[in-house]
Symmetry: D2
Subunit: 167 residues, 4 copies
C-alpha cells in the first residue's frame, strides 16, 4: 500500500515553539487542569504527555482514564497541530503575528474512535498532525496511547476553520 510521505516544511524557530508551548500549557487554563505537557512541536506534528492522576479517572472502581480526558486532550492537541502547521507556513511573519492566528482558529468538528479502554500506569501520550491546510480550512489526524504508539487507545480526526469560528 502506498503511504503518504510526511510533508517536510522548514523547522519552526525555537522562539515560536517556546511561546506557543507556553500559551498552550499555561494560558489555556483548562489545559492546565488536564496537565498537558508538550514534548514535540514541529511542522511534522505535535506530541504531548498527560500524566496519570486520580482526578482523571472515570469510575473509581476501574482505574480507567475518563473518556472525556481523552476527548478533551485530543481536541486540544488537534488545535495545536493546526497552529504548528500555520506557524510553518508563514515563516515570513514574525512569531508574534503568527501566534495571533490562534485566536481565529475554530474547530468545526471532531471525531474520536475509542479503540480500547485506557488503563495507563504513568499517563497517556497524544500526538496530532495537520495533513491538509488550505487558506480557510485544516484537517487533522490524532491518536493517543498508554503503553505503545503501535497500540493506540483512541484515534481522532478534526476539521478547523482558520478564519474565525462559525458566526
Amino acid at each position: 500500500m502506498t503511504r503518504k510521505p510526511p510533508t517536510v516544511p522548514a523547522a519552526l524557530e525555537p522562539e515560536f515553539v517556546a511561546e506557543l508551548k507556553q500559551i498552550f500549557e499555561e494560558r489555556i487554563v483548562f489545559n492546565r487542569v488536564l496537565g498537558i505537557r508538550v514534548d514535540h512541536l514541529g511542522p511534522d506534528g505535535v506530541r504531548a504527555e498527560i500524566a496519570m492522576r486520580r482526578d482523571l479517572i472515570g469510575h473509581y472502581a476501574y482505574n480507567r482514564l475518563h473518556g472525556g480526558v481523552i476527548s478533551a486532550g485530543l481536541d486540544a492537541m488537534a488545535g495545536l497541530a493546526v497552529m504548528a502547521a500555520i506557524g510553518a507556513r508563514h515563516m515570513d511573519e514574525p512569531p508574534a503575528q503568527r501566534l495571533q492566528r490562534f485566536a481565529r482558529l475554530g474547530t468545526i468538528d471532531l471525531r474520536i474512535d475509542y479503540l480500547r479502554p485506557a488503563k495507563p500506569r504513568s499517563g497517556i501520550t497524544a500526538e496530532a498532525h495537520c495533513y491538509k491546510l488550505t487558506r480557510s480550512i485544516a484537517f487533522v489526524r490524532a491518536q493517543a496511547w498508554d503503553e505503545s504508539a503501535d497500540d493506540p487507545v483512541a484515534t481522532a480526526q478534526a476539521a478547523f476553520m482558520l478564519t474565525g469560528a462559525p458566526a
Copy 2:
C-alpha cells in the same frame, strides 16, 4: 417534515435515579473536575449543567469555554443517556443490578460539531438522549448550549457497545 416522536417508556424509579446520579457526579472523578450537575435523568433523556469557572476557559484573553470541556461534557452525558435508556429497559431487574451494566458500557465513537464559540455567562447546559438501543449497541444524540436550547453551541452523536469495551 415528519419528526420522530420521542419513545415513551416507563419512568425510572427515584431510587435508581438517585444512585445513578450519585455515581455519575461523585464517583466518576473527572466529572467532579468538570463540575457536572445532573438536573434531569429519565427514559426520555438526560440533562445537566456545568457552571462556568475560570478553570474551564480556553485562551485567557477571550473568556471562551475550552472546546475540550464541551467534548468531555458531551462524552460524559452521552454515556449517562445510555445508562438511563438501559435503566428504563430493564425495570424488572433491581436497581443495583442495572447499575452494574455501567461498567460494561464502552464508547465506540463520538462526533462533535461545534456550531459557534461558547461564551457562557453562567454556564452551559448539555442534554443527551439515546435514540436507538439494541442488545449490543446504542446510539445517542446530544447538544450543549449557553443561553438557549434553540441556539446550541455544539451537537454530538455517539455510538456505544453494551457488552464491554472493544478488547
Copy 3:
C-alpha cells in the same frame, strides 16, 4: 427535554423549487443513477424517495440495500437541504442567482450512523434539514428509513462550506 423548535422562514417560490428539483434530479447525473425523486423541498427541510431496484442491492443473497446507496443518498440530500436553506435566506435575490450558489457549495464532512440493515420492500425515504447556516458554513442532519420515519435505518450529520470547496 426541551426540543429545538423548527425555524420557520418564508416559503420558497414554486419557480425556485421546480428549478432546484430539476437540477438535482436530472443534471446531477449520479442522482439519476440512484433514482432520487424529491417530494418535499422547503425552508424546513427536504425529503426524497429512492425506489428499490435490483441495482441497489448489496449482497445478492440478502436483498439488503447496499450501504453505499444510503451514504450517497444522504450525502446528496444533505447538500440539497443546504440549498433549500440558502434559497430561503436570500429571497431578495432572483432564483437564478440563488441557484448559482450551488456551484460554490462544498461538503467538508459527512458522518453516517447505520442503525440497522435496510430491507426495503418498495424503497427508502430520506430527509434532511439544515439546522445551522452562517455566511461561511452550514450544518445538516439527515435520516433515512424503509418502513417508518420512527424507525430509521440510518442517521447522518454533515458540514458544508458555502464559499467554495476547500482549495
Copy 4:
C-alpha cells in the same frame, strides 16, 4: 513523530482473494454500478479503481465526481478491508467458511472528510486498511485520490460490527 508500523500478518491465499474479489465486484450489485475494480487485496489493506464515467458526475457543468460516488466507494472499500483482515486472522478456516463472515459484517458508522473537489481525468483510486480488529468490532481508515496518493480528495474512518448488524 512515531508512526504506527503496518502489522504484517500472513499473506492471503490466491483462492480466497479470487473468491472475495469476485463476490465484491460482481455479486454486490451496486459495486458493479460504481464500477469498482479491486487491484490489491491483502492483509495490509485493499485498493481499487473506479474508472471515470459520465454517470458518476455531480453537476453536469463542472465535471466533478459526485460526492456520493466517493462516499459509496469508500463505504464499500472499508467493508472489504475488514473482510481482508478477517481473512488473514482465520487462515485456519477454509476460505468458504471465512467468506460467510461477510454476511454478518455490519457497518456501525462511517465518517468522510472531503479534502478538495475530485476532478479525475481517468478515475479515482481508493484504499482502505483495517487498523484494529477485535472479536466484535473493527476500525478502518480509508482514502481516495484522483492523481496522487499524496494528495487525497477524501479520507474516511469507519467502525464495523462483526457479529451481525445491530438488531
